[in-house]
């Protein structure tokens, strides 16, 4: 169930497509273009958006197997109906402290470059459809990984929300996976 914009044209989700022409709510011409859909999710107290096109499915928090020396961003591996895939600890990637596991905790399975990974989030909120005009490409001035992950910002209504860049998440995760097991880091073996 990978959605792309082409499919969403005919689907229920494509509400943005046949938006009413004209000036009914005072929108200008350019805003008749297609809306992009996002899943709202919370990491810590903050809400982020994740492009729905990359999302494969969302599952409850299933048992995670710890993988030693896999890099600290990788929480471990999960069994998604027979496929083993890594789960990324987004809290850690954002530089947050350890939180508590609640019934709302979810793993969002995303696909990127034919690779599947799970993103552990504290909760998911809604599906948002946003006009391209309400999205700004913007890098954040903050330091650390968290601000790195956001390359676009939604200014839908009164809220300003960061949109997570999946390719960034992937590259951070794989960097972390590499650094997690440098030969040098195996120093504890020599001791």
């Amino acid at each position: 169930m990978q959605w792309d914009h082409g499919n969403s044209r005919s689907g229920v989700q494509g509400s943005g497509i046949f938006a009413i022409r004209g000036n009914l709510d005072g929108e200008t011409e350019e805003e008749f273009t297609e809306k992009e859909q996002f899943i709202g999710l919370k990491i810590g107290d903050e809400e982020f958006y994740l492009p729905i096109a990359a999302v494969n499915e969302i599952v409850m928090l299933i048992p995670i197997t710890y993988v030693p020396q896999s890099g600290k961003m990788i929480e471990g591996v999960i069994n998604l109906r027979g496929t083993i895939l890594p789960a990324i600890n987004l809290r850690k990637m954002m530089g947050l402290k350890k939180g508590t596991v609640t019934p709302a905790t979810r793993i969002i399975i995303v696909r990127h470059n034919d690779m599947l990974i799970g993103l552990i989030v504290d909760t998911i909120t809604y599906v948002h459809s946003i006009y391209p005009s309400e999205i700004e490409t913007q890098t954040l001035p903050g330091k650390g990984m968290g601000s790195d992950l956001v390359t676009r910002i939604s200014k839908n209504g009164s809220n300003i929300t960061g949109i997570l860049d999946i390719s960034k998440i992937f590259s951070h995760a794989s960097e972390s996976a590499k650094s997690g097991h440098d030969y040098e880091n195996m120093g504890h073996l020599a001791g």
Binding site: V67, P68, S70, I84, P86, N89, L116, S174, H181, L189
Partner: protein, 796 residues
């Protein structure tokens, strides 16, 4: 050498090719230049010729004429076939068809076609001489009367096409006869002589690799051809080698002849002209051998092998669907030379050959069953489908484990003991059947390793000849079976190792004699099964590896220190380091220092292991351990702290319980004494740095939290230690774990690209309860230890 299905096919193809062209040309001629009677006549002449030929062939394919003509008549074949092809061209181009050619030249060419050289006049040539004057009808008749063709099954479909072609011909002829001046001069020499230069070009230059063929558009047919060709080439390889050893064995020659012939026929059918041509010459040569007119020399075998190399190349071209552009003229010439010089006797002895030919044909048809008596009936299956099946069985294995745990729970706490009993029974039965299914499915993927081995004989032979060494390659255990993927992957590393043995291992004959050895070196390539593993050993009786030299190089490269006290094994394993070579000279065979590390990596990738042993002056022996299959592994589940890990049973030597007091410390390390060997010990939780888990692992599922509490059982730790002794036969170490759980069959799965390089972890597997367990990579773990803690090895 007989007229056969191939030649017949070629005829049909040629004629069919020409007819439409002629027809269209005729009509265009009539339209354009009604006055050009001459060209018209040419056309009509050719059409008539073609129709005659087709009729003859039709008759011929129905009757099974047994009459044999003397061999030299066969020199007609190329001539006649080109007669049909080239005049057509010349007509199409409206060129003057009177290109002249001296009789001498024609004779020389014709002789060449049959593999003669032009020097002394031979009976065959005399015959050629006369034949160029022979009417075409006579030639046809001669052809028709030649030994009966071998009918390929496909010729049935060809016949239908023939009928169609005949009908068209009849129509054309009606038209032709309506025109005045349509009578033909059947002695017209221009057709014959005009064709000859064109044919020369074909011989001296190149033939097109892919001709037109009605089959060549069918990918399935092509696929069949390729698989067939691969098999045949392999067979040829082995047989030619065997022939070199026993040059007079009629059985081998027949076998070769069969393979060569089948391949030629198939190539002809698809109009792979280059393959066909080479194959044809080879067949000629084998034919002469079988008739005792030629003996097999080393040089001849060289030519045959290089011809076979080119053939392989060409077959690859077919596989890739595009011509390779490989030159074939030279090899054809060489093959011709091979056959040459015996032609004088050939014409004489061929008169008495009908019986032999019959024999050939007798063996021809049941070739498939007689060729490989030991081969059972087989069916080709798409490997992808098979892989899907194997995967599915893997899933079923997981399901079975799950069933078993449900069954256990039902039995223990279920309210219906009867039902639970039934369930147990069913589950047990299911398990038994699953085992069988698994066994069979695994066997399906197994192929004898001999497939990979056979080509080495050839490599050793070629190499040793070029190096001036005398080497026997002795192959043992080629029937040992293992997974197809492994057989495919192990080929290149083995080639490398064997080349090394030939190049570096075995000395030159004179050196060997002065060292008091037999002048002939010996390389032993053996495979055997040991439990779940295959052991492949490559042993040579050469000069062995220069231990001191390797040590020096190692110090030079900074891999070891001057004062390191290393075992022989450690020194030898230095050659697996990247860029390590002790060869003073870089040859084109080896010495560049790339290779052994690649070999090792490849073998590790296959979850195998490589070990090397060498003794100066006595030889080197390399042993490779490989798993039988990669899909399902028996594993031992162990627990360290609260984490469960799986250790492939293939790497487990034993598991023991020791008292903490058995532990001895050497420096920083713990060791125990076990059967007179000192065994280094590692705590699994140290190796994997499990203490980090507390910091790193945030999302623990509730059950895990519980097990956290049980972790205080340090008393057990005090009283008894579980040690899993792992490693290869020679290099072992012990892993201290908290408890041993059970043995299970599991399917190792990749955990995604992101997790591909996690140290000491080979992959994940899914347990019956759906949880993922990590499968430890003992080989990798061992190499870590070797890199990091060589000190312990010294003690050991």
């Amino acid at each position: 050498m007989g007229m056969d299905a191939l030649t017949q096919k070629a005829f049909e193809a040629l004629v069919k090719d020409i007819l439409p062209r002629l027809a269209s040309h005729l009509s265009s001629l009539e339209a354009l230049a009604p006055e050009s009677r001459e060209s018209d006549n040419d056309c009509r002449f050719l059409i008539r010729e073609a129709s005659e030929l087709l009729k003859l062939m039709d008759k011929w394919s129905q009757s099974s004429a047994k009459t044999d003509l003397p061999e030299h008549d066969i020199s007609e074949i190329p001539e006649t076939s080109t007669q049909e092809e080239y005049p057509a061209d010349s007509v199409t181009e409206e060129s003057d068809p009177s290109a002249e050619m001296s009789d001498d030249e024609a004779r020389r060419l014709l002789a060449m076609m049959d593999g003669t050289d032009s020097s002394p006049p031979t009976p065959a040539k005399n015959h050629c001489d006369s034949s160029s004057d022979m009417s075409d009808e006579e030639a046809m008749a001669a052809l028709a009367a030649m030994d009966s063709p071998v009918q390929e099954s496909s010729s049935d479909s060809g016949d239908e096409d023939d009928d169609a072609a005949l009908k068209m011909l009849a129509r054309l002829e009606e038209e032709a006869e309506g025109t005045p001046g349509a009578t033909q001069d059947s002695q017209e020499p221009s057709a014959t002589t005009g064709s000859a230069p064109a044919f020369t070009d074909e011989i001296v230059e190149e033939v097109e690799e892919f001709g037109e063929s009605e089959f060549s558009s069918d990918p399935d047919m092509i696929q069949d051809f390729i698989t067939n060709a691969d098999e045949l080439m392999e067979n040829l390889d082995t047989q030619v080698l065997a022939l070199e050893k026993s040059p007079t064995s009629q059985e081998i020659i027949n076998e070769i002849f069969r393979s060569a012939h089948t391949l030629k026929g198939a190539a002809g059918m698809f109009a792979f002209r280059a393959i066909e041509r080479i194959m044809h010459r080879m067949e000629n040569y084998f034919d002469q051998i079988s008739k005792g007119k030629q003996t097999v020399s080393g040089a001849a075998v060289d030519v045959l092998f290089s011809a076979m190399d080119i053939l392989r190349h060409l077959i690859d071209g077919v596989r890739n669907g595009k011509p390779t552009g490989r030159q074939t003229a030279q090899i054809v010439h060489q093959l011709n030379q091979l056959c040459a010089g015996t032609l004088i006797s050939s014409s004489a002895s061929h008169a008495s050959s009908p019986k032999e030919k019959e024999e050939e044909q007798a063996t021809e048809n049941p070739a498939d069953d007689t060729a490989k008596k030991q081969k059972q009936s087989t069916i080709r299956v798409d490997l992808q489908r098979l892989d899907a099946l194997v995967n599915l069985v893997g899933e079923l294995v997981i399901d079975r484990t799950r069933f078993m745990s449900i069954e256990e729970q039902l039995r223990i706490k279920g309210p219906h003991p009867n039902l639970a009993g039934n369930m147990s029974e069913t589950v047990q039965l299911f398990g038994r059947h699953m085992n069988e299914v698994q066994d069979i499915i695994m066997k399906v993927r197994m192929v004898p390793i001999g497939n990979a081995f056979n080509k080495y004989t050839r490599i050793v032979r070629d190499l040793s000849r070029s190096l001036g060494k005398e080497i026997d390659l002795i192959i043992d255990g080629e029937h040992t079976e293992l997974d197809k993927t492994i057989v495919e992957e192990i080929g290149d590393p083995l080639i490398h190792l064997i080349r090394n043995s030939v190049d570096h291992g075995i000395e030159l004959p004179e050196d060997r004699v002065s060292a008091g050895k037999k002048s002939r070196g010996k390389i032993m390539l053996a495979a055997r099964q040991e439990g779940n593993q295959i052991m492949i050993t490559i042993e040579d009786d050469g000069k062995g590896m220069a231990k001191e030299k390797i040590r020096q190089k190692g110090i030079e490269k900074g891999l070891i220190k001057e004062d390191d006290n290393l075992s022989d094994r450690d020194i030898f394993s230095l050659i697996f380091e990247p860029g390590f070579s002790t060869a003073d000279q870089v040859t084109n065979i080896s010495g560049r220092g790339v290779g052994m590390d690649v070999v090792k990596r490849q073998i590790l990738k296959l979850k195998g292991n490589i070990d090397i042993h060498s003794e100066a002056g006595v030889g080197t022996s390399i042993s490779i351990q490989l798993p039988l299959t990669l899909a399902i592994v028996q594993s031992l589940l162990v627990k360290s702290k609260e984490d469960v890990f799986a250790i492939p049973l293939s790497t487990v030597v034993e598991s023991i319980r020791i008292k903490p007091s058995d532990l001895q410390r050497v420096g920083d390390s713990e060791v125990i004494r076990r059967r007179n060997r000192v065994l280094p010990l590692f705590h699994l939780h140290d190796v994997l740095d499990l203490d980090q888990k507390a910091n790193h692992f945030w999302y623990q599922s509730p059950e895990h939290e519980h097990s956290h509490g049980r972790r205080k059982k340090n008393k057990v730790y005090e009283e008894r230690l579980f040690v899993v002794v792992v490693g290869t036969a020679e290099r072992r170490f012990g892993l201290i774990v908290d408890s041993l759980l059970n043995q299970q069959e599991m399917v190792i799965k990749s955990m995604g690209n992101l997790m591909a390089d996690i140290p000491c972890v080979a992959g994940g597997a899914i347990l019956g309860n759906g949880e993922v367990v990590l499968v430890l990579d003992i080989v990798e773990m061992e190499s870590y230890f070797r890199h990091k803690v060589r000190g312990i090895q010294q003690v050991a």
